[in-house]
Amino acid sequence: MQRLSVRIMNPVGLHARPAALFVNAVSDFQSTIRIRNRSTRSAWVDARSILGVLGLGVESGHSVDLTVSGPDEREAAGYLKALLESPMPDDQASR
């Protein structure tokens, strides 16, 4: 199992388009991926669930924890870390 923590610097947090991008990316991997909002000490949710991820209320500056377990866990962990750390620049709501 891979564990990682990432600080979200995207100006709108993990909402709307960034959340959709994240869930889309998670769905491309076979591994079981769970996420929680470390900053609010939320419960863990299935990272494939858009409602679950939106409900975490991840705002800019919050940190999230992820667990990734499965055949492609290393690749998934690396990719998702990079995605979450990126500014996700295509987000229109941030303009």
Partner: protein, 177 residues
């Protein structure tokens, strides 16, 4: 205690209900497509001076690129929105559709469309507020009972009363009365 209490978040429903005015609620909409539903609700926002003429097409363009259908239970919900610069004054239009209208799913590009009965069209001027609104909405959307009541609402006043926050003090005083 209903499950949604926790999901509702610390802000309760005050922020959201404050932006849903009676003249922004459409009940029994006959829209046949997602685009029509967005157009009808955009018209309510435009007539009341919340958005400009380009809002509807901007929302639809964004919806095509980044769909907002959510697989909620017992009825699907969509939360279309667009850039803040199309908004003059913040408001949220709510549409209760007579029949399910297909919206593609947020976050699952290859998933089948969801039949949506309830649309929250967000026109939020402040990006920071938009984030909080979406979080608050998602809290609400996790209550099947609330969605059932919204889908079955007969008029705008009923929609508004379902969305209105209930003060915990009133509820508890009623319990102890």
């Amino acid at each position: 205690m209903p499950k949604n209490r926790n999901a509702r978040g610390k802000n309760g429903r005050a922020g959201l209900a404050g932006l849903v005015h009676l003249n922004l609620i459409g009940v029994g909409l006959e829209s046949l497509t997602a685009k029509q539903a967005i157009e009808s609700l955009s018209e309510l926002l435009r007539e009341s001076g919340h958005v400009g003429a380009n809002f509807s097409s901007a929302v639809w363009e964004r919806e095509k690129a980044h769909p907002t259908g959510l697989p909620t239970v017992p009825v699907g919900v969509a939360i279309p929105h667009t850039d803040a610069h199309h908004v003059t004054r913040s408001g949220i239009a709510v549409g209760i559709l007579r029949n399910g209208v297909d919206f593609l799913q947020m976050g699952h590009r290859d998933a089948p469309a969801i039949p949506v009965r309830i649309v929250f069209l967000l026109a939020i001027k402040e990006t920071e507020k938009q984030v909080r609104m979406i979080q608050e909405l998602v809290g609400l959307l996790q209550s099947p009972d609330l969605l059932r009541r919204l889908a079955g609402a007969q008029d705008a006043a009923e929609v508004r009363s379902v969305l209105k926050p209930r003060r915990p003090t009133q509820a508890s005083s009623r319990l102890h009365a």
